[in-house]
Symmetry: C2
Subunit: 284 residues, 2 copies
């Protein structure tokens, strides 16, 4: 039961989700100097980060765009990164934000829940409606896979469409209603559905409000750190227990920069993740 596992890890280890949005410029010199391709260097960096953080964070989120940007080599690094996260017993969230008609959605589901790009969870964009979500249901039924649907994203212009008022409520409220309804079928023993929601920490009041509408929804929460969210912003959402994982990418992956360029770099990365964990947990 994948949501049980994620919820348990979030509560027993920490709600920290480490985003492997790895850029070549984040890498310490001793890796950059190796006679390898950029994608191979990124994979080595990721593996070292995963080893150093797997007992500090609940899960890793891999943003596929950073790997697509490197072409075929990048996709190999992406595949190997996901495999490594799962191999060490952690949880891999593939941040792919796919969304398409049902026939195409089936292909995305197959592509990201089986084979080279297999992940435990994927993020999905529901702008095209239930057709873009239902292709994942067969995998959810196994209990071993989950999805997070975009609800209220962390970026500034999420207001362009998501906040448009419809009657007295913003559009994202209507999306929340759908996510809650779709998720009812897939509630796992922990009480949360394997259909979760993405809500940005940059909008703490909206998050607290959303969570009252959706008691069975577990959250993937981007926007901590570099994007501006803090542990205090999470206090209201987590007041009855941890019900989400909080992603940070840049602030963790670059914690060694200007300090360490050798194999000790991961110490600084680990320290940054521990500080994030403490910043969140002190409010609980």
């Amino acid at each position: 039961m994948i949501m049980d596992k994620l919820c348990k890890r979030a509560r027993e280890i920490s709600p920290v989700c480490v985003g492997l949005d790895t850029k070549i410029e984040y890498l310490p010199e001793f890796i950059l100097e190796k006679p390898k391709s950029d994608a191979e260097k990124i994979l080595e960096f990721n593996k070292r980060v995963i080893d150093a953080l797997r007992d500090v964070c609940a899960c890793f989120k891999v943003q596929i765009a950073y790997y697509e940007a490197l072409g075929i080599e990048g996709m190999i690094a992406y595949s190997m990164t996901l495999k490594y996260i799962r191999q060490v017993g952690s949880i891999a969230i593939a941040d792919i934000k796919r969304g398409d008609i049902a026939a195409t959605g089936k292909m995305y589901a197959k592509g990201h829940f089986e084979g080279d790009f297999e992940a435990d969870f994927v993020t999905v964009n529901g702008y095209m409606g239930i057709d873009s979500i239902s292709p994942y249901f067969d995998y959810l039924k196994t209990g071993n896979k989950g999805i997070f649907i975009l609800l209220k994203t962390s970026n500034k212009s999420s207001s362009d469409f998501q906040d448009i008022p419809i009657g007295k409520r913003p559009l994202y409220y209507h999306v929340a209603g759908k996510i809650d309804a779709w998720g009812k079928e897939y509630i796992q023993p922990c009480g949360y559905s394997s259909i979760g929601a993405v809500v940005g920490l940059t909008y703490p009041e909206e998050i607290a409000c959303i969570s009252e509408w959706m008691p069975n929804t577990f959250y993937l929460i981007p926007g901590y750190g570099a994007q501006g969210g803090t542990g205090e912003d999470l206090a209201q959402l987590f007041k009855d227990g941890i019900c989400g994982v909080v992603n940070s990418s840049r602030a963790i992956l670059t914690a060694h920069q200007k300090i360490s360029e050798d194999e000790t770099f991961v110490k600084h990365i680990r320290q940054a993740a521990i500080e994030m964990k403490e910043d969140i947990c002190k409010w609980l």
Copy 2:
């Protein structure tokens, strides 16, 4: 000027866009029997289809999900298919429907406008607002790249969110207003912006209405054939001239099935594309 080229080809050759949503079960026996991987077989099929149709259609749309479903091998076939389309002088639309925060969007733009996965146009999901669109602008400024933003998609459940009434107008009307405004900066000599819109042919009345709001927008129109759209449905939209390309995938790619399993299969595929062209052009 990529939109000039697409518009010229749509008017001089035909507004047909052939969708390479290739599934292994579409392939004729003589390719299936070869000692190759599934992805290599799909690439061979695609190349033969491209050779047979490049003088019948304006462009090819490659749905990346079908390739992601095959893992790394699939991504190689995807890359080689795009390269081949561009090499023979046609236009490659990468149907990727990506959409993310600006930093991530930059990676998607790099990934799909440069390197292994370089296409002429990409499709983009704007649910996250301008941040998810603006990372493509630097490429649009060169004049050689274009995007199509999802507006009113062809699937049944596009109504779940896109049709939600906001005041007197549906949500997609508001999206149309944004696309029109963003596109003004990128109008090419043909009169159309290199920011186009995706509108499903399954909603012909909505399309006709949309086009009056957006005189500088060129359309990518899925939903012909297997999804139910007809040439007659396009008559109203094209009444002042061809202002879009019309995609068909399954109906064309499977035209040889149960008829031909040898090298002559492309004749039937070509015939299907010619019939589609005639069905559209007789209403002009």
